[in-house]
């Protein structure tokens, strides 16, 4: 009795709280659940407008892919020597964005970071959709996409198998595994919330929909115990997985022998970069959503503050990588490595290298100051800058290494074509259509974990107050 009353009365207000004061089990469940459950006709205009625009972009995406299939890969700007362009740049960029989600939900779970609770669901969703956008690129960047199934090890009448020494083949396994595990992990996390929705829903259709998805979860103590074991295991699996995925993608380059690709530091440096722009994207998504659905109570400044710190840290690792590359170029005493840096800094594409330095190294230094970390408009700008910067990083790695490699005779330039841009911009359509559907149909914050947070906060407050 005592405690229950304590819970229902407001606990003492503290700065940078993870929860606005006065939250109860019921209030948070209602707050988050209602976003999904209230009637179709009451859907906010912001959401409708958003998905409409995204839908248009998706059309553009489908159009450019259709052209790609029928006319040929030549509609892109690629050539020899620059045989990879926007396709692989955007593939790596999207995959990178995905990583923040897994990191938040898995690694922070292992580290028992409470602040993950109100953002991990959306971040995981972002992961899955980003991986979808990324995964499409390697499939369509081939000259004969209708034969992509040759990447899979299946018993064919040809008696042929894939070539398991190729980093691209590693990608096939890494990305498919990553996508699968992310979806499973996400679904497991959803089960108790779906049950909540089932129990709160009024409309029979909603009840049926969420009821079926929740598999009949009823919160039995034994289930909870198994459930927590499973989540821990999945977190334990996802953590090395997420590290391996971007490492393997970095192998696409590191395993080759091109100056600027053949770099041993790539795996950690790619992973850090992925986290870097992943968090930027989370912030980018959270700031408007928080406004749109009035979630200030659940996603507080504290969240943004902590995420900014993570960005700053990973940003510094990336910066270290940039200086590392310059150092190797000098230390290797290889004319090719040396020329690579010269070409990056003063070559025809120098502007992109310096853009990378500005967006990825200089601007994020603002995050040292709390007043920028907690100033959402500025944080929004910084996040955009970081996403652009990380895109330029992939551009620099891929295009600047390819366009001037060993034989000066084969040096050439790369100009992205209309279809390069259309496919890239279109992929945002796919991403946001999925994301808008997600926030309308599924709880974008893990309800049961927030309830748990309410409980913890209450008890902390209680312990501090009492006796």
């Amino acid at each position: 009795m005592q405690t229950s009353q304590k819970i229902n009365q407001p606990v003492v207000e503290k700065l940078d709280e993870l929860l606005a004061p006065g939250q109860t089990y019921a209030s948070v469940s209602a707050k988050i659940g209602d976003i999904v459950l209230y009637p179709v006709l009451k859907t906010p205009w912001g959401w409708i407008g958003g998905i409409a625009i995204a839908g248009l972009l998706l059309m553009l995406y489908l159009y450019s892919l259709a052209t790609l299939f029928t006319v040929g890969i030549g509609i892109w700007g690629i050539n020899v020597p620059v045989a990879w362009g926007f396709d692989i740049i955007n593939f790596v960029w999207w995959i990178g964005i995905g990583h923040a989600g897994t990191l938040i939900s898995a690694i922070l779970l292992l580290f028992r970071q409470d602040w993950r609770t109100s953002i991990n669901r959306a971040a995981e969703a972002m992961t899955i959709f980003a991986v979808a956008c990324a995964g499409i690129y390697p499939l369509v960047h081939t000259g004969r996409p209708w034969l992509d199934y040759w990447f899979l090890p299946y018993p064919s009448t040809l008696g042929m198998w894939p070539q398991f020494r190729s980093p691209l083949e590693w990608d096939v396994f890494a990305i498919s595994t990553y996508a699968t595990v992310s979806v499973l992990f996400w679904f497991v996390g959803l089960i108790p919330d779906l049950a909540t929705l089932r129990d709160r829903a009024q409309h029979p259709v909603a009840k049926f929909f969420y009821g079926a998805l929740s598999l009949g979860w009823r919160g039995a103590a034994k289930h909870w115990q198994r459930y927590e074991v499973a989540s821990l295991i999945l977190a334990g699996l996802s953590t090395p997985l997420v590290l391996s995925v971007h490492s393997i993608i970095s192998f696409d380059f590191a395993v080759s022998q091109l100056p600027g690709w053949h770099v041993t530091v790539f795996p950690p440096y790619f992973v850090a970069g992925a986290v870097y722009c992943g968090f930027a994207m989370v912030i980018l998504l959270m700031i408007p959503i928080r406004k749109l659905f009035g979630l200030e109570g659940l996603i507080t400044l504290k969240h943004f503050d902590v995420m900014s710190k993570v960005m700053l840290a990973s940003g510094l690792i990336v910066t270290y990588g940039y200086f590392g590359e310059i150092f190797y170029a000098w230390y290797s005493a290889s004319i090719y490595e040396y020329f690579l840096i010269v070409n990056r800094t003063v070559g025809p594409y120098a502007w992109s290298y310096w853009a990378l330095i500005i967006f990825n190294v200089l601007i994020p230094q603002l995050l040292w100051f709390k007043r920028f970390r907690t100033n959402l408009p500025i944080l929004l700008v910084i996040s955009v800058a970081i996403n652009i910067g990380m895109w330029f990083e992939r551009w620099v790695i891929i295009v600047l290494s390819l366009h001037r490699d060993f034989l000066p005779s084969s040096w050439d330039v790369y100009n992205p074509s209309f279809y390069d841009w259309a496919t890239f911009i279109g992929s945002f359509g796919l991403f946001f259509v999925l994301f808008f559907l997600f926030i309308r149909l599924l709880p974008m914050i893990t309800i049961f974990e927030v309830r748990d947070l309410v409980h913890k906060t209450a008890h902390k407050a209680h312990d501090q107050k009492g006796h």
Binding site: G77, I78, A83, W84, G143, M160, P162, L258, P408
Partner: protein
């Protein structure tokens, strides 16, 4: 549906060809080809717009069914169409080779043509023929494509209406009879004895003019003035010192193949005591031969005269005074002369056909003074007509103006396009009552003729030609004329009222000459056909007497000078519709699909022009717009333009490509002249050059090694200590069986492109068009990289053929996810097109960037005649697959299978790659590196010069290079001209 149409749709690939014999003779098929006609000119060059969206959809489906029936539920039923009567030599699936002859500037080059079930697919040089020695060049290699060109004229036309040979021949006879002495025939130069005899049989007074816009008139006139009516033949295999005065003797003219071979033979420094000849070259713009020079002097074309005069004076030619020369020029002349005099009897001075007659006259005197005559310079009775240039055209024009011409037959020469601009030839031709045009194409000139008679390609024709040394070789057809084309012999015979076939005419003529017939003749006839040459027909040697006085050549002109030159690829423009020649990167500039106004860096700077600017060139009041291209090593104050472009009626490929330099080429300055004005009218012209960067960036040792002969003989210590690179993995065992390898001698490669086009013909390499080349998507499996080293004014110019290196540690293979490129047991890096998915990863990881990708459906799968040309032993690649050189795998397999069915080993030299076979200087050697006796092993063993490209990467290439060597004159020091 006609059978042929049916065949073409039902059958693709090899089974289809079996029906060829029937196809080519059937009129329906010819109509089908005829129907291939009008389409947008740009389209053929632009594969994207070539097919409509839906058609592409279809194409990709079709191709996927090719790629292992992925989409088709079941394989479609195919037909096999065997012969009705099988010719006895023909064995389906095996190629036959026939000797024939091609005319270059009218002189015969002996060839062997490869024939698959009756369709020629490739031509090679005839080893027994003096003019080819088994080599060929890009022009010869590409001639096969011209034969299958769907844009060729396919019927006889009278006043714009289709007609027949029956009508035409009748009309010709009557017209000729009516014209009587008013008959004039103007043709490209032609040395056919049969034709000459036939022309002689025309009514008295009728004359045969020969006109060639690139004619060597100057040479013959100069020779005439100096030593009388004779032909000059150089023996460069005996010359230790060669002075070339604006003479690109290794790539131009009917003697080029022979001269290249002879010259190269003196340039190989493989022996323990290496010796090399020394080449002094003075020329206005870098040529293939110029890149071989030890001392290359870039001078204005008009300055070459003074140089010659100076040499003449120095070697003591009577009555020649030394002109005043610039410091660098006199230095060059002095040391050249010293060298020449040190090698009297073993030196040669040669002048280019572009230099005025006076220069040639002096050259004869110089050679005489150095008593090279008889050793390195030989004189023979004249072969062919002396006068085949501007003079003969001028004569014809004056005759027409005088109204003496009532019937004009214009044969194989496109006067309206290539006559000097000031002749206004079109108007003149209109004055002739009866004009008959005879040629492969309906071109600019045919429009003016009442009659157009479509010519047969040389591979479709009987005939006979004489080589530069007079040797006669018979031209025998490889295939019945695809479009019922006629030969010039037919036309002239018809005019003479002689209706017998070309074959009979030629055969009868020689029966007459030899005075034999029946078995005796037939036997020799068969031998001549088989060997490709008629024995003992070489012209007799003469010992002419040298003139006593010589005119001094004109002095160097001041100011900007315009220089007209034949285009290195499409020459006079007659082959402008040949995609292979349009797309092959020109030596030095690497330009494709365009000609340019070439300027030296200094001059460009002076005029404030840069690459890609568009300028208006005005000469004698006529002007053209041309894009600027800056060429290091070109003489200052010189603008070089190449002839052969700007055709208006060449066909879908060649029309409206480049600008027409003939339009400003006056008869007064055919090759170079002063008074050209140049004004900028635009900029940013799209120049499709295949090489953007020509500086080695200090990577010489890894990429292109050059040393002097002296450094080779007594090497000072190597600044790049060669350290052994170890591999973490155990090495694969290549010690057994055939292990193929290649050695390329950079020292004799002049970048003539013969290998590039030969490879294109052998391996069904598609033409992609200017737009795609501009995007960096050219498809050539072997390319010639050009580098400039030293200062931009007097650079050394390096030419380096690069094809797949067949690395033993192939970086491309490990990164392919589907094992589409793997190594075979003989050390070749296989590229399996039908397995390729097209990730392009292999290309990214290839340090040599020799892989080529089909970004679109580049190979034309639709035009029937083009399909006929394809090599049936090589897969025609589809959209989306990678491709690259595979050491002519098909030739290796054929040799291996033959050897194994006969239970023997492959002999060294039995497998010859297409590039190796074509190479005029034999720079490419291929063979089994496990056979210690093979030539390639001996070359790879030359550790002082033999190296592999980028060896720090430890890719272990199977192709190695022999370093470039120069033999500079110590007096001039340095390693390049003027240094």
């Amino acid at each position: 549906m006609s059978k042929e149409t049916h065949d073409i749709q039902q059958n693709s690939g090899r089974s289809y060809w079996r029906s060829l014999d029937d196809l080519v003779q059937s009129s329906e098929f010819q109509e089908r080809l005829a129907r291939e006609f009008p389409q947008e000119a740009a389209e053929l060059r632009d594969p994207v717009s070539r097919r409509s969206f839906l058609k592409l959809m279809g194409a990709s489906m079709a191709l996927s069914s090719l790629a292992g029936c992925q989409f088709a539920i079941k394989q479609p039923q195919e037909k096999i169409v065997p012969y009705v009567r099988q010719p006895e030599q023909v064995i389906p699936g095996r190629a036959l080779y026939f000797a024939t002859t091609m005319a270059v500037h009218g002189y015969g080059i002996g060839l062997l043509a490869e024939s698959h079930e009756g369709r020629p697919t490739k031509v090679e040089g005839n080893p027994d023929h003096p003019a080819s020695n088994g080599s060929s060049d890009a022009w010869i290699q590409a001639s096969i494509l011209t034969m299958y060109d769907p844009d060729r004229s396919q019927q006889i036309i009278k006043d714009g209406q289709p007609s027949t040979w029956a009508e035409a021949s009748a009309a010709l006879a009557t017209a000729a009879a009516a014209a009587g002495s008013g008959i004039r025939v103007i043709s490209e130069p032609n040395t056919s004895p049969t034709l000459a005899a036939l022309v002689a049989s025309l009514p008295a007074g009728s004359t045969w003019y020969q006109y060639d816009p690139l004619s060597a008139d100057n040479t013959s006139t100069g020779t005439m003035n100096a030593v009388g009516s004779t032909n000059t033949i150089y023996a460069f295999d005996k010359a230790d010192v060669v002075v070339a005065l604006d003479s690109d003797f290794t790539t131009t003219g009917p003697t080029a193949l022979r001269y290249a071979r002879d010259f190269a033979s003196k340039r190989r420094a493989h022996s323990a005591k290496p010796k090399m000849n020394r080449l002094y070259m003075a020329e206005p713009t870098p040529t293939s031969t110029g890149t071989l020079a030890d001392h290359r002097l870039a001078v204005k074309a008009s300055a070459v005269g003074s140089l010659t005069q100076a040499i003449a004076a120095a070697v003591g030619v009577a009555g020649v005074s030394a002109p005043s020369l610039s410091e660098s020029e006199s230095k060059w002349v002095a040391s050249a002369v010293k060298d020449l005099q040190a090698h009297t009897g073993a030196s040669a001075v040669i002048a280019g056909e572009t230099q005025p007659a006076e220069v040639h006259a002096l050259v004869h005197a110089i050679n005489a003074a150095l008593n090279n005559v008889g050793s390195t310079v030989r004189y023979i009775d004249p072969v062919g007509t002396m006068n085949t240039g501007i003079n003969s055209l001028a004569a014809l024009v004056s005759e027409i103006n005088a109204g003496a011409v009532s019937m004009l037959v214009i044969a194989d020469t496109n006067l309206v396009y290539n006559a000097p601009a000031n002749f206004n030839i079109a108007e003149i031709i209109k004055k002739v009552p009866t004009v008959v045009h005879f040629g492969l194409y309906q071109d600019e000139t045919s429009e003016l003729a009442q009659w157009h008679i479509n010519a047969a390609h040389y591979l479709e024709s009987w005939g006979d030609l004489r080589a530069f040394d007079g040797t006669v070789s018979v031209q025998q057809p490889l295939i019945a004329p695809l479009y019922d084309g006629k030969t010039l012999i037919d036309v002239v015979a018809a005019m003479a009222g002689n209706a017998s076939s070309t074959h009979d005419l030629v055969k009868n003529f020689w029966q007459g000459v030899t005075g034999t017939d029946g078995y005796a003749f037939d036997k020799n006839w068969q031998i001549a056909l088989h060997d490709g040459i008629v024995p003992n027909t070489a012209a007799a040697a003469t010992t002419p007497t040298l003139a006593t006085s010589f005119k001094a050549p004109a002095a160097t002109t001041d100011g900007l000078e315009i220089v007209f030159r034949a285009d290195p690829s499409i020459r006079d423009g007659s082959a402008a519709n040949n995609g292979w020649l349009q797309e092959v990167p020109k030596p030095v500039t690497k330009m494709t699909w365009d000609n340019t106004a070439q300027l030296s860096p200094k001059t460009a700077e002076k005029l404030g022009l840069k690459r890609g600017d568009i300028v208006k060139l005005t000469l004698e009041g006529r002007s053209v717009d041309a894009p600027v291209f800056v060429v290091p090593g070109q003489s200052d104050d010189t603008v070089v333009v190449h002839l052969g472009y700007g055709r208006t009626k060449a066909g879908r490929v060649g029309s409206s490509v480049g600008f027409n330099a003939y339009a400003i080429r006056p008869s007064t300055s055919l090759w170079h002249g002063a008074g050209v004005e140049i004004t900028k009218v635009g900029e940013d012209y799209k120049l499709a050059s295949t090489q953007m960067h020509t500086d080695l960036e200090g990577r010489d040792y890894d990429i292109y090694r050059a040393k002097t002969l002296d450094e080779l003989i007594n090497p000072h210590e190597e600044k790049h200590a060669h350290h052994e690179i170890i591999s973490l993995f155990p090495e694969w065992d290549y010690s057994k069986g055939y292990q193929w390898g290649m050695s390329i001698d950079l020292n004799v490669c002049n970048g003539c492109n013969a290998c590039v086009v030969a490879c294109q013909a052998e391996n069904n390499i598609p033409v992609v068009g200017k737009e795609q080349v501009w995007m960096g998507r050219e498809m050539h499996w072997i390319r010639i990289d050009t580098y400039f080293s030293g200062d931009a004014e007097h650079p050394e110019i390096y030419q380096q053929p690069v094809a797949c290196m067949q690395c033993e540690h192939a970086p491309c293979e490990i990164v392919c996810p589907v094992a589409a490129t793997v190594h075979d047991a003989e050390g070749i890096n296989n590229m399996v097109y039908n397995r390729c998915v097209g990730t392009k990863y292999c290309s990214n990881n290839c340090p040599y960037k020799v892989r080529r990708f089909n970004f679109f459906q580049y190979s034309d799968m639709e035009t029937p005649s083009l399909k006929l040309q394809r090599n049936p032993d090589v897969t025609v690649r589809t959209r989306g697959v990678m491709e690259k050189c595979n050491y002519c795998q098909q030739r290796i397999n054929e040799a291996r299978i033959d050897a194994r069915t006969q239970g023997r080993e492959i002999k060294d030299g039995e497998v010859v790659t297409a590039c190796q076979q074509a190479c005029p200087t034999q720079a490419i050697v291929f063979g089994n590196i496990n056979d210690p006796s093979s030539k390639v092993v001996q070359l790879k063993a030359l550790e002082k010069t033999s190296y592999t490209m980028l060896d720090p990467l430890n890719t272990k290439p199977r192709t190695s290079y022999l370093a470039k060597l120069t033999n500079p004159n110590p007096e001039l020091g340095g390693t390049h001209g003027d240094a």
